[in-house]
Amino acid sequence: MNGTLGHTGVLLGFAAALVGIVVLLVGLVRRRPGGLRAGRFYAPLILLGGIVAVVAMQRALITHDFSLTYVADNNSRSTPLLYSITGMWSALAGSILLWGLILGIYATGMVWRFRHRADDQLVAWATLVMYVVCAFFFGLMLGPADPFTHVSSVPLDGLGPNVLLQDNPLVLFHPPMLYLGLVGFTVPFAFAVASLVTGRVDEDWQGETRRWTLFAWTFLTIGIVLGAWWSYQVLGWGGFWAWDPVENASLMPWLVGTAYLHSVMVQQRRGLLRVWNLSLVIATFSLTILGTFLTRSGVIQSVHAFSTSSIGPLLLGFFGLVLAVGVGLIAWRGDRLRSPGGIDSPMSREGAFLANNLLFVLFAFIVLLGTVFPLLYEAVNSGAQVAVGAPYFNRLIIPIGLGLLFLMAVAPALPWRKSTAEIMRGRLAVPAAIGVLVVVGCVIGGITGIEPLLAFGLGAFAAASAGRALVLSVRGAWRSARGAGASPARATLAGWRGFVGRANGGMVVHIGVVLIAVGLAAATAFGQRGTVVLAPGESGTFAGHTVEFVGTRVVRTPSHLSQQALLRVDGGAVFTPAISQFGTGTQAVGTPAIDSSVTSDVYLTINSIPAKGGPWTFGVVVQPLVMWLWVGGVLIVVGSILSAVPGRRRRPTDPVSTPVGAAAPPVAPDLDPEPEPGARTDREPVGAGEAT
């Protein structure tokens, strides 16, 4: 029953995508607007197919229908409801099902948004690309990643989910967020292909693409931060990032997507970098497919790679197709679509964005190289194996990270087109002084090490620079409200407008990134790990923290049996790291307990329980400022939402800082659809001031 329903859903999705492709192709070839309009009705059908299949799968999981192989492998009678639901994305076939559902949601959202422009060729091409991707993923579920195969004989009980995936409710959120991000990059890709095919690379479409990218990027950010948090809460080694191929697979599209979100502003503002932006969009999507291949084909060893399957060659083939189409189109059209003109001066906002792009792309390349290097090495050296570990990544990534922090500090103060030393001195003096003060403070406080000091100093510089931009824009919003005759109280309320819009939301994101950078630098440079061996009643000290072993406790739930240790940290609250047995027998997994505070985290694990009496061994990891990683993650999300809210729109009759149209070149429109209130009301000559 569940199997039949599920197969029906998958088949519906696949067939709808195929028919949609045919209808759109016919409409495009014969240039029939009616055909193009008809093409949009297949997206909701794809979504319906996805929903039917997901409902069937959830029903099977929740009712423990072990006649499905997938359920028998990932569910058991004692699995609680929450982890039955999450079972859908804890193995390969189910994760493809989730992918298909989200793809259906995006496809439907896209045709809905462009329902009034459905007979536009560009929209039709983008929808077509979307359907091709849908057909591929639903096709996978008809072939090698079929989630609805039946077992030969129905077992009495299933294996249950991987024990690591039933220890923390975060598994409910982390994979769907990640997929909402990764899958979301399909829409920008579809528009990039459509732009190249139709030859319309104008800034209007970049505005659309940017919005979709920002949406996907925000979810991907949430997914990555949640993944790091989950890893920290569950895995018991006190770390949050391990340069594991699965992690890298989500980081690479994030990096290139971040580069795009910056450089697209150059295009919207100055009409430059058109082909470069399209390339970034294509690269982002290609990297999500490559990452999907790397983590699901089994070619790379990883702690949490999916089990091997025959899905690999198909994903690789699809990656090749995506790349061939995307890059092929750029080779064919790129040179004709290039923007005329170039960047006037490296010391300008666009120059800084270009440098930012180069660093982000280099960053992504280093991650990609580190991820596939073991495979390349093996291929060249006939089977010899090599591992690429954290030292490689740290050595290459830290300088890039510091460079990005520096750009983050300088770029918001740079005007468009060109700058002068005096302008920069005026705008950066205070932030730079704050950065220097922080470094001096750190040195006085006894912090050594060139890398953490640089990270703290540049971080403070960047945060101060972002803060300065926000203060100016809030002040600008306040003043303009006052100027329009608002009372002081109302004007203060209007000040919140200084936080919304592309530039201001971006500054909030920057502050979040700085918090993460500072947290990372502190936790990795000054973290200490060790063990304490304690009998019940004893206390010990590690890295300045006292740990008292108060006692033990056994907790029994239907799904597991936990042996907990009660540990009092620094004479305060009691924390309970545990070792839990899941299922009927031998599977044991440790659960850490974390004493988290704004200054530092004390991370406790049970390393070993003696067989008969005697002292226990506890692992202790003390890392400063870890909490700021999560706070920074939240700020990034808040900032992304703020930057998606349209900023204050300037009425055409409003005065601007320079008479418009005086000598603005026709190809570089200087009117921004989302003017930055801060920059506009700033008394310094910004942007348009140097337009002539």
Binding site: T308, A324, R336, S339, P340, L375, A379, Q385, V667
Partner: protein, 199 residues
């Protein structure tokens, strides 16, 4: 939005730029395609065989003791150091991937019984000794199979799910940890690698 331009305008040569069209985008794109084709070729030819090997703190350290009652009720203890390569396989009769790798293990054990350079030891993971005994008998596995009813061996090796396989070198160090069905060829490859790196 004021930036809507017909594509023709974009190609019209502005006065400050040379009119000759450059082909940078094309050359870069072609280069990217060539590099990507190479990458895809490498990825396509990789065997997903040795891939499920995972990192574990155990790898490189002395193997924890393996002793207890076998499923036939006899006492067994693995010598420390064992003197030959030992393949320590955690399995369960109810686990489908274990059933897939079973014949490969029998094949491996037979080959190396002749040579005497490696031996098999199995540990039952989360199932009864009697089930495991009849399973091993059906498979034709004659090597020692430990019952491990309390899961102490599995816990000491950090095994979370079957099948999990460890390769222990003659000097007693764990040299590989695989969480997936193995083939005889995989195991031979791991042994060859261990020998090459001086185990």
């Amino acid at each position: 939005m004021t930036g809507v331009l017909p594509p023709d305008t974009a190609t019209a040569p502005p006065t400050t730029r040379p009119a000759r069209r450059r082909h940078t985008a094309r050359w870069v794109a072609v280069t990217v395609l060539v590099v990507a084709a190479g990458l895809i070729a490498v990825l396509a030819t990789r065997q997903p065989a040795a891939v499920s090997e995972v990192q574990s703190p155990l790898v490189g350290t002395q193997a924890p003791p393996v002793r207890g009652l076998t499923v036939d009720g006899r006492a067994f203890a693995l010598a420390r150091p064992p003197g030959t390569f030992v393949v320590l396989n955690f399995f369960a009769p109810w686990c489908e991937p274990c059933q897939a790798e079973g014949p490969e293990l029998v094949h491996f054990a037979f080959e190396h019984q002749q040579a005497g350079d490696a031996k098999m030891v199995s540990v039952v993971f989360d199932d009864s000794a009697s089930d495991a005994r009849s399973y091993q008998a059906t498979l034709g596995a004659t090597w020692p199979t430990l019952a491990d009813p309390q899961g102490t061996i599995a816990l000491s090796y950090g095994v979370r799910a079957p099948p999990s396989t460890f390769l222990i070198a003659p000097d007693g160090r764990v040299v590989a940890y695989i969480v997936a069905p193995v083939t005889a060829a995989d195991l031979d490859g791991l042994i060859a690698r261990a020998r090459a790196t001086g185990a």
